[in-house]
Point group: C2
Chain length 461, copies 2
């Protein structure tokens, strides 16, 4: 360990940056992107709040006669801060519609926003303070993901990275909002780092959407313990036998701190147009391009997809048994697009997942990994039953950082999800409030009542 090199002291470096961070000191683009991240997250949380996993988890939380610190969005229930952060993060990923830092497949906003919003119900927080902490948590979470997964690290494919780095992002953001000094922030980071957890084998079950939520809850608990004076080693990230050591080897700690405040990993975070695993998006785009050109009555004989090898490594699941497995099945999405000519939440209905026509199509699709293709790139080739061959090459998936969703597209995505659980007038008022979040003096005062309109008729026990 090169203890003499200050760039190795990343726990202290992050804490020092956090204490000095201010929303009005962030570049304009970062401020805008933070607002967009929150808008996207809140829509996903509303849209996912009626999913079975969210309903069941809220029932688990409600088994405990908890306090009523914060709302479970869309559930007409309240819980303690950690429980609310847990449920709201869970809802936001329930439809796999949340944001993604593609380089590491981290979904950073969930653990951070859910933790901060729960806290904002217990103490008045201005929009600028809230967004500054949100930007901070997203930034640190993505950077720690880079440390573990980007070269020269030897990445561990078992890591469910949002569960691993989510506690740290949530904890440092919450600690900032709670006004911790640098020393307490270092404890907080350590208390979060030692709760970092999540295995990729949970994917394809409800547990797969619970892992980021565990991260939110762990981050909140870390800040609560540090607030009560539970201390921790002050270099838990980089210490021998610490956070980095446990999950990887050969990591470059510079990813964590170099350029903090001037170079923003948050700008590499993107919003999904489709509720599918992010690495499938380019293939979905390619399939959509082909179906747009299909002559009427055309039938698929077979199809071949070429994708980045990571896509295949993560989504090579031919016949999903559940909607959760379908979210991350490359074959299911391609079959759905070829048959239904769209790529929305209908692909995840249990009836669609079980449809024999879809299953038959999945069997006629082959997929190959091609390491000359980028992660947001794909090629689809189709042979029609009449012998016609079609081909589409998508160099950059829609919604990625090279081809981002516009504000209008993002607001449309928000409205679609919010209107599923909220009255129209409250939805419109909520969107208006979100547009001026940076000027809000009390975020819960501005949006809390409107969020209570979600789920008011949820009918849960």
């Amino acid at each position: 360990m090169n203890a003499g090199n200050p760039s190795r002291a990343i726990t202290a470096g992050i804490a020092a940056y956090a204490v000095g961070s201010r929303f009005d000191a962030l570049p304009e683009q970062v401020r805008q992107e933070t607002v967009r991240a929150f808008l996207n997250w809140l829509g996903c949380t509303l849209g996912g709040s009626r999913e079975e996993a969210s309903v069941r988890a809220a029932a688990a939380i409600a088994m405990v006669p908890m306090g009523a610190q914060a709302r479970l969005i869309g559930h007409a229930r309240r819980a303690d801060m950690g429980g609310a952060a847990f449920i709201n993060c869970l809802s936001s990923s329930a439809l796999a519609f949340d944001d993604t830092h593609l380089a590491t497949v981290t979904h950073p906003t969930g653990p951070v926003a859910a933790s901060l919003l729960a806290y904002a119900e217990t103490t008045p927080v201005s929009g600028a303070e809230f967004l500054n902490a949100l930007a901070l948590g997203i930034e640190i979470q993505c950077r720690m993901s880079n440390v573990l997964l980007m070269p020269p690290a030897m990445p561990n494919l078992s890591l469910y990275i949002t569960g691993i780095t989510g506690p740290i992002g949530a904890a440092v953001a919450l600690g900032r909002l709670m006004g911790f000094d640098e020393r307490r922030l270092r404890w907080t980071i350590g208390l979060a780092a030692t709760q970092a957890a999540g295995i990729r084998a949970t994917h394809g079950s409800m547990a797969g959407i619970v892992v980021p939520a565990f991260g939110a809850r762990a981050g909140v608990f870390a800040a609560q313990l540090a607030a009560s004076g539970i201390d921790c080693s002050e270099d838990a990230l980089e210490a021998p036998r610490g956070f980095v050591d446990i999950f990887t080897s050969g990591a470059d700690l510079g990813h964590a701190v170099e350029g903090l405040g001037t170079r923003f990993e948050l700008l590499a975070n993107a919003y999904k147009p489709y509720p599918a695993g992010i690495v499938i998006h380019a293939a979905i785009d390619a399939c959509l391009e082909i179906v747009k050109q299909l002559p009427a009555g055309a039938e698929m004989g077979s199809a071949r997809l070429s994708v980045n090898p990571l896509t295949l490594a993560l989504t090579d699941r031919r016949h999903p048994a559940t909607p959760f497995e379908a979210q991350i099945s490359l074959y299911h999405w391609a079959a759905h697009v070829f048959l239904r000519r769209e790529a929305g939440t209908a692909a995840l209905h249990p009836a669609e997942v079980a449809d024999p026509a879809i299953a038959a199509l999945r069997d006629r699709i082959t997929a190959t990994g091609d390491d000359t293709l980028a992660r947001d790139e794909a090629v689809a080739e189709m042979l029609l039953t009449d012998g016609t061959r079609m081909r589409a090459h998508v160099p950059h998936a829609r919604g990625g950082v090279s081809r981002p969703m516009t504000d209008a597209e993002l607001e449309a995505k928000f409205l679609t999800q919010a209107l599923g659980v909220m009255p129209q007038d409250a939805t419109a008022a909520l969107l208006t409030a979100l547009r001026v979040i940076p000027e809000t003096t009390d975020i819960d005062g501005a949006i809390g009542n409107l969020l209570d309109a979600a789920g008011c008729n949820a009918g849960e026990a």
Copy 2:
């Protein structure tokens, strides 16, 4: 992955064993050892409940207006089940006096007993059911530690193993007590495995005693989520990119299930006579042997300790700054024994840790790792200022499985700790109740009121 080999299906194997487990089917020795484990744990929990970390963490839990499901032992407070499991597990390790599975340095009873006892306050549980679940959780936790750390696995020294396998032990035990079927137990195990966390770099701070407590809380939450129908992949332990994959490579999964019900890893669990890191115990014994023979007025010139290399790897900390660091400082314990001629909790008083006379002695001690020495073996050599040389070789540390504490020693340890926080009559009644735990029809009915006598005058806000 050798999916055709049934011994690989360890998640299912553990669940099947758990469902079929019954206290009266356990060998007599295992039943006795389980009672001893609980006695030792409860004494440690009482004894540790006034430690600063426990008081602070209880304050963190109390920040939340939680429910009153279960007691925080020694705190005159109640919390939700997960919070109570957290605090009671934390207290039990606060003085590093809890039990140890030496082969893996796992402290198995804490996460399991704390979770089960909290549950027993919400639903009547017989002594036999309780002890059966306790034996089950200890057994599975130690076996999963073996999977990760014993040959042929390549052990990861960053693992804080009680935090890693504790959630699994606690969850499977609690799921058994809650009457889960095999499928739900497999979910429970997976939901615990994906929360497995803990870095060794927390050692030496309060966070070091919090990690096992995180494990207890995670185990409780896993069972609560599974009870509400949150499902999980049913092979999360052994699946590719699952629990075993994330933490090690080359593991033998047979450690988890081979001989379940006939060979008991629980019998390799032992109780500490000294509140020190377990790997220091043989050295303490050797130092105690020398000081017993010291002539009056003898002064140490220098000393040399020879220990198993693991001891040195984990406790090579010459000048501890805090009691937590002192617990795991080989030099501090040797210096304390040489100067004070005893090895009790007095070694951990802040004044003792800071004493210049102790510091001076630590500087005159050298330690070397010797891989011909077993983990419970040590040699101490001392050169007195008058030139006399003394030497003690301890082949097996006191308290280890080769030289276990007697029932009388264990009860004396319990009384010392309990009397620190409870009235004498309640302490005596509690010990009497613990002796007949296997015949108890309602464990909380039998010991709950007595435990409420602990901390009734704690004076916490």
